[in-house]
């Protein structure tokens, strides 16, 4: 049964996690013009920071979530200050930035692997399963759905109503013009990294709680995250939201179809890849992107 209520629940949860990752990825992509491959490791980093709080220190996972948001946001800022800002001031091209992002990603992931080992780990929290229209949903999943929706509204408010948010949009639309208008680009970039990184950290905790912790946690969902960003149109906040749920549904329906056809469900990541290739062939600017991007 490829389209059951269980699939809808799973797709919404997957989509909610992808949204949180894709928003930061697409913001950085738009403003700094490069594909940030270390974004995956921000997701993993957040998940393990919450692990320290939740398991090593024995506190509630909610505290872990908050700490993960803060620390991952700060890690985003640190990498920008130590590496990407220097590359910008040297006038390095986007290719150098992508290679540097790979370097940072390898570094972060391998330090995590060294610290916690390659084995699977789990958070400690109580969870209840509820029946919902013939499917089942956990308390955690309800929490993920509600909090990511709240975060989306919060970000919408930030982008539309606050000075910082407006400045972010101005910088991503036209950096030179924004600077000429007296916007402190470097200062706004700090916010982009902090929010983008922080959201990735939250996504990592959600993913880790919904599945398990492993040093490849973020890397496993980097490809769907890029597929979301490109399908949504690079830099498009609303495009990313729609695309994240499209990906969530495609993956979960796709997996159901794969098992119907008795093909290994290990091909799950290939679904994102097929979507990515189709978008590049049919509409490289994405759902809500502009033509100049390609």
């Amino acid at each position: 049964m490829p389209f059951s209520s269980q699939i809808i629940i799973n797709s919404m949860v997957t989509g909610s996690i992808y949204v949180l990752i894709a928003i930061g990825l697409t913001m950085i992509y738009k403003v700094l013009k490069f594909a940030n491959f270390m974004h995956a490791e921000l997701v993993t980093f957040g998940a393990y920071m919450a692990y320290i709080i939740n398991v090593s220190l024995g506190m509630d996972l909610v505290y872990g979530l908050i700490i993960a948001f803060l620390l991952t946001g700060i890690l985003g800022i640190i990498t920008d200050r130590l590496v990407f800002k220097k590359l910008r001031s040297k006038g390095s091209d986007v290719i150098s930035m992508m290679i540097a992002s790979i370097g940072i990603g390898l570094l972060v992931r391998q330090i995590i692997q060294e610290s916690w080992g390659p084995q699977l780990r789990w958070y400690e929290f109580q969870d209840t399963t509820y029946d919902f229209l013939g499917g089942s949903i956990t308390g955690l999943q309800i929490f993920i759905l509600i909090s990511s929706t709240l975060l989306i509204f919060l970000l919408h408010f930030l982008f539309m109503k606050t000075r910082t948010g407006k400045a972010m949009r101005a910088i991503s639309d036209n950096p030179q013009l924004a600077m000429a208008c007296g916007i402190d680009t470097e200062n706004i970039l700090l916010w982009v990294w902090f929010i983008g990184g922080g959201l990735a950290g939250i996504a990592g905790v959600f993913r880790g709680a919904d599945t398990r912790l492993v040093p490849l946690l973020g890397w496993e969902i980097l490809l769907p995250a890029f597929a979301v960003v490109i399908l949504g149109g690079i830099g498009s906040f609303y495009g990313a939201i729609i695309a994240a749920y499209v990906l969530g549904f495609s993956e979960n329906i796709g997996v159901a179809v794969l098992s119907e056809l008795s093909i290994s469900t290990g091909y799950r990541p290939a679904i994102a890849f097929i979507i990515l290739i189709l978008v590049l062939i049919l509409r490289p600017s994405g759902i809500m992107g502009t033509k100049e991007e390609t």
């Binding site: 590359l87 290679i99 790979i102 390898l106 391998q110 060294e114 990515l276 290739i277 590049l280």
Partner: protein, 294 residues
């Protein structure tokens, strides 16, 4: 024993040297971001290994490996090369991961995670005592062929056009050159060369499994190119030498001192740091590109 160790090291330097030259053609000279180099290496390895196990001679396996790698290079390049540089990076990286899933899941063909054992080694029965010497010579013959070929095409009008595309694609396009065709061609050549390297690797170690083809291999080849010197073939071979030295060094230290860190983690951490430092402070690498003045 010591002699064997040296020869083994040389064989790996040769195999990675070929891979680094092939990446250099695409990324160093033409600025094509191939983040999935490992895929074409793996195609060469699996194709050649499977044919040899089925009874085909070594050279037949090698040729089919090269052709298949080239064909997939063409197919992957097609949707991505017309678009922005960063799309190619995302598409190739994803392709490598999907291919690894294919090798992992299609047990009937690849024996899945257990890998392929007993890959025949060419002329093994004839040479048994001097086998390592023979293999070293063979790998270096291929390395020299690839080096000479790469130097030749880069000094030909074709290669000069590629470098011009790297430096200013719009200008080359304005002169009426079909830049897309040039990029596709060099990508096919690079993929074919990676196929050679993969076949040599498979027949040397006589056992391959999907976990040998992680993206970290791609990035270790990138590191060879970046630290050795992009767009300099001798430079990238020097880079292959240094990274191989580093890899052996980290394993070697383990026998003498307790660093309190897993050597495989340490190696990737060092690779990450090297990538960041070279991109920041010495982007031209150890041996600079020789700029020809016409």
């Amino acid at each position: 024993m010591f002699q064997d160790y040296i020869l083994d090291t040389l064989i790996y330097i040769g195999i990675y040297g070929i891979l680094a030259i092939s990446l250099n053609l695409e990324a160093g000279y033409t600025r094509l971001m191939n983040f999935g180099k490992v895929a074409f290496f793996a195609i060469g390895a699996y194709a050649s290994a499977l044919l040899s196990i089925a009874g085909a001679p070594f050279l037949a396996g090698l040729v089919v490996g090269i052709l298949l790698s080239a064909m997939f290079g063409f197919l992957v390049a097609l949707p991505a090369l017309r678009l922005r540089a960063d799309y190619l990076a995302i598409v190739t990286l994803s392709f490598g991961e999907i291919l690894r899933l294919f090798f992992l899941n299609e047990q009937w063909l690849t024996n899945g995670p257990m890998g392929l054992r007993g890959i025949p080694q060419p002329l093994f029965s004839v040479l048994d005592n001097n086998y390592l010497v023979f293999y070293t010579v063979m790998v270096f013959v291929f390395l020299i062929i690839c080096y000479a070929f790469s130097e030749k095409i880069m000094n030909s009008p074709f290669g000069i056009t590629l470098k011009a595309i790297r430096d200013d694609e719009d200008a080359v396009f304005a002169f009426g050159e079909d830049t897309f065709r040039f990029k596709v061609k060099v990508f096919i050549i690079g993929s074919a060369m990676a196929g050679i390297s993969g076949a040599l690797f498979a027949h040397y170690i006589a056992f391959i499994s999907p976990d040998m083809f992680f993206p970290s291999l791609t990035f270790s080849v990138w590191t060879m190119m970046v630290i050795g010197g992009s767009a300099n073939n001798l430079g990238v071979i020097a880079g292959a030498f240094l990274i191989q030295f580093l890899e052996r060094g980290t394993r070697f230290i383990k026998d003498f001192a307790d660093l309190g860190i897993e050597p495989s983690n340490l190696r990737i951490i060092i690779i990450g740091i090297l990538l960041i430092l070279f991109i920041l402070y010495k982007p031209e690498g150890i041996i600079k590109e020789r700029k020809r003045i016409l």
